[in-house]
C-alpha cells in the first residue's frame, strides 16, 4: 500500500471542505475568506462568464424556516440598489442544502489598507462621505448595517466605495421580533472576522465588532438599536480615518494634531455615548462632512469669530490674495507717484 504525502493529504482536506457548486451555474475557483458565520469563495459564473464572490453559511444544518428567512432577507438586501452597496446577484441552494449568495466580486483595497497608503485627509473624508451616503440609503430603506468598520468597506480600483457585509444587518421596519429581523447571511470577504463578536446576553444578542460597536449594541440592547447605532460605528470609522488607529478614549487631535477641530467635533458627535446626542442618521452626518469639505460651518462645532474669518480666508484664498495684491499696488503708487 502506498501512503499519501502530507501535501496530497492537505489538498484532499481542502477540496473536501469546499462547497459543491455542481448543481449551480458557478464554478469554484478558490476560497477568499473564512469567517465565524460564513465563508466567501471566488467563483466563475459560467453563464455570464464573470467572476463572483459567493458566500456560503458555515452552518451545517439548515431548517426550512431558516432557509426561507434567508431567501426573504436576501431579497431585501438585493433591493438596496446603490452604487455604494455591494450588489447581490443571486441566491440559491447547494446540493447539501446550504443556502448561498452570489455577489459582485470587488477588486480593490479595504478602507483600512487604503488609509495606510498615505491618502490625504481630504480624500479620506470624500470616501467616508460616500460610505455615509450608502448607509443613509440603507437607512432610508429601513435597514441598519450593525457591523460597519474599515474592514467592511472596499475602495474599488476606480475609487468607488462599496459597503460590504450586510450579514448582520437589521430590518427596522419589520414588525416581527428583532432577532428574527437579523440577516444571517454575511455578504462580505473580510479577512478579520475574528474580531466580530456574537455573544448571547440576557438582553439579546451582541453582534458587531467591539471597537466599532455602539455602547447600546455592546450592551446587547438589540431592541433599542436604530440608525444611530450605525452613526456611532460611522463615527468610529471616521476616528480610524483621522488617526489611523482604532477608536479609543483619546481625542483624535491628541493622536493626530493635524486633525481640524470641526473634523474632531463631527467624529465625537457621531461617537457620543448618549444616543440622543448623535447625528440622527447617516444622511445628517454626510451633510456635515460635505460642509467640512466645502469649508463651511458644521453643525457639530460652534466656531469663534476668528475661526470664521480664518475659514473664509482659507476658502477664498485666491480672491483674498488678489485684493491684497491690489491694495499693495495702490499703496505703492501712492508713495511713488507723489509730485
Amino acid at each position: 500500500m502506498k501512503w499519501l504525502s502530507d501535501d496530497k493529504l492537505n489538498y484532499l482536506r481542502t477540496i473536501v471542505g469546499n462547497p459543491d457548486f455542481s448543481s449551480t451555474k458557478y464554478a469554484f475557483i478558490k476560497e477568499l475568506a473564512r469567517g465565524g458565520m460564513g465563508t466567501v469563495y471566488l467563483a466563475e459564473d459560467r453563464e455570464l462568464n464573470r467572476l463572483v464572490a459567493i458566500k456560503v453559511l458555515n452552518t451545517p444544518e439548515i431548517t426550512e424556516d431558516l432557509r426561507n428567512r434567508m431567501v426573504r432577507e436576501a431579497q431585501i438586501i438585493a433591493r438596496l440598489e446603490h452604487p455604494g452597496i455591494v450588489p447581490v446577484h443571486d441566491v440559491g441552494v447547494l446540493a447539501d442544502g446550504r443556502v448561498f449568495y452570489a455577489m459582485k466580486f470587488v477588486r480593490g483595497s479595504r478602507l483600512d489598507e487604503y488609509a495606510t497608503q498615505n491618502a490625504s485627509v481630504r480624500d479620506r473624508l470624500r470616501k467616508f462621505q460616500a460610505v455615509c451616503d450608502a448607509v443613509a440609503f440603507a437607512h432610508a430603506h429601513g435597514v441598519i448595517h450593525r457591523d460597519l468598520k474599515p474592514q467592511n468597506i472596499m475602495i474599488g480600483s476606480f475609487g468607488e466605495v462599496l459597503v460590504l457585509d450586510w450579514g448582520v444587518a437589521k430590518i427596522l421596519r419589520n414588525p416581527v421580533s428583532s432577532e428574527a429581523d437579523t440577516l444571517l447571511l454575511p455578504v462580505a470577504e473580510t479577512k478579520n472576522e475574528k474580531a466580530r463578536l456574537v455573544v448571547d446576553t440576557s438582553h439579546g444578542t451582541i453582534i458587531g465588532t467591539r471597537d466599532y460597536m455602539s455602547p447600546e449594541q455592546a450592551r446587547g440592547e438589540t431592541n433599542q438599536l436604530d440608525e444611530r447605532a450605525d452613526v456611532y460605528s460611522l463615527g468610529a470609522v471616521l476616528y480610524f480615518l483621522l488617526t489611523n488607529r482604532p477608536p479609543s478614549e483619546a481625542r483624535p487631535r491628541s493622536i493626530n494634531p493635524k486633525v481640524s477641530k470641526p473634523a474632531e467635533a463631527i467624529c465625537l458627535k457621531a461617537m457620543s455615548r448618549e444616543i440622543g446626542s448623535r447625528y440622527f442618521g447617516a444622511s445628517e452626518l454626510s451633510t456635515d462632512i460635505g460642509r467640512l469639505l466645502d469649508a463651511e460651518p458644521v453643525s457639530a462645532y460652534r466656531e469663534s469669530a476668528i475661526e470664521k474669518v480664518s475659514r473664509w480666508v482659507s476658502k477664498n484664498r485666491f480672491l483674498v490674495l488678489l485684493v491684497l495684491a491690489y491694495l499693495l499696488m495702490r499703496i505703492f503708487f501712492v508713495f511713488t507717484s507723489r509730485p
Binding site: F318, L319, L322, V323, A325, Y326, L327, M329, R330, F333, V334, F335, S337, R338, P339
Partner: protein, 116 residues
C-alpha cells in the same frame, strides 16, 4: 447673490478704495468727493458689464480675460481724461477688472436652466 450684483458690489467697493487713495495726494484732496464718486461709478460700470458677462458665459479664464479688458479699457479712458498717470491708473484699473472677473465667475448664483 446674483453674479451682476456681486460685480456691482465688488466694483463699487474697489472703485471707492481706488478713489480714496487720492487723499494721499495733497493736490487732489479738494476734489476727493468727485474723484471717489467717479471712481465708484467706474467700478460699478465695470462690475455690471463683467457680472452680466459671467451670467452668460461660465468660464473662469474667459471671465478673467473679459474682466481684464473691461478694467483696462475703462481705466484707459479715465487716464485719457486725466491726461497723464497712464501706468498708475491703468494698472490698478486692470487689476480691479481681474478681481471682479474672477469673483463673478467663482461666486454668485447661476440662473437655473429650464427643461422645456
Amino acid at each position: 447673490m446674483s453674479k451682476p450684483l456681486i460685480g456691482v458690489v465688488l466694483g463699487a467697493i474697489l472703485g471707492a478704495i481706488d478713489g480714496l487713495t487720492a487723499w494721499f495726494t495733497p493736490a487732489a484732496r479738494d476734489q476727493l468727493g468727485g474723484i471717489v464718486i467717479g471712481s465708484t461709478l467706474k467700478g460699478i460700470i465695470a462690475g455690471v458689464a463683467i457680472g452680466f458677462f459671467a451670467k452668460r458665459f461660465h468660464s473662469l479664464p474667459i471671465g478673467i480675460l473679459f474682466g481684464l479688458l473691461v478694467g483696462a479699457l475703462l481705466a484707459y479712458l479715465t487716464a485719457l481724461m486725466q491726461g497723464g498717470y497712464y501706468f498708475e491708473i491703468i494698472l490698478p484699473g486692470t487689476m480691479v477688472g481681474l478681481i471682479v472677473g474672477f469673483a463673478t465667475q467663482k461666486y454668485g448664483k447661476t440662473p437655473a436652466t429650464a427643461n422645456s
